[in-house]
Subunit: 157 residues, 2 copies
């Protein structure tokens, strides 16, 4: 993973791939007025430099029965419990994100699950059963106005 400077074409490619991660190199080549191998070169470089970390599909969570989103603020009572906690977080697929935050609590988790019963199990049997959890505060989302992982990268002209 080496340092890299990106040019305008790289930014255009990142913006385009954010919208359609399976777009053909040839389509981008036509759109940006270069050849397909040129696009492939840029993409390879973005991948090798660690700027592009992967590709994924976007799935309608409600349609697959995973429509409940909850945010859980967690305060740990001692730094000694941090490693176990982080290990737990990394291994649970229903924990979509975990941010170390500054302020009232230590960590903010976003949990994606099927139902309130499911959430209840995660909170009581998993999270509160971990060592060193001093306090949790759970906020349930009534609806998702917007929920994307896309970065604010604008396509240059």
């Amino acid at each position: 993973m080496k340092l890299m400077s990106f040019d305008e074409l790289d930014v255009k490619i990142l913006a385009a791939l954010s919208q359609d991660g399976r777009v053909r190199w040839s389509a981008l080549a036509d759109r940006f007025g270069v050849s397909a191998p040129a696009i492939a070169d840029h993409v390879r470089r973005l991948e090798n430099s660690g700027i592009i970390t992967g590709y994924s599909v976007q799935i309608n969570a409600v349609a697959v029965g995973l429509g409940l989103i909850a945010f859980v603020s967690i305060t740990l009572d001692h730094p000694r419990h941090r490693a176990d906690f982080l290990n737990y977080v990394q291994h649970q697929a229903h924990i979509q994100s975990c941010h170390h935050v500054i302020g009232e609590s230590d960590y903010l988790l976003k949990i994606c699950c099927a139902s309130t019963a499911d959430l209840e199990r995660i909170l009581t049997e998993e999270i509160k059963a971990l060592p060193g959890i001093q306090q949790t505060r759970t906020t349930i989302a009534l609806s998702s106005v917007k929920d994307t992982a896309a970065l604010p990268i604008d396509e240059p002209n």
Copy 2:
């Protein structure tokens, strides 16, 4: 967008595409013991039924200078201002998510930006300038332990 039941192969495909959104149909065909057209058929059906909503690239936010994440809780002082607020949220690329929540505040935003100066501008010039914002509370993320959009879909055996 019609109702659809999914079988085991669909679940396998969704799990595989979550890990690699650009994987070749032929590779999935080999892995799951079916033909490439069979994979293509399933994927097309998942797309047409609205279960797959798109594909995207995963980008290292820090590497492109967008390493500051903040969570902003917002309380609106009157439902009349809701439409304007939601419209604002939809049109700002740096607002990655907005959930209508139950509890102390009305909405929880996740903001992705370049710096504290950038965040300051967003908060004071954009958000607090909107009509009907009664209260905001901002939490800055020190680090992201985990941050994925992947749904908890396990690959069946």
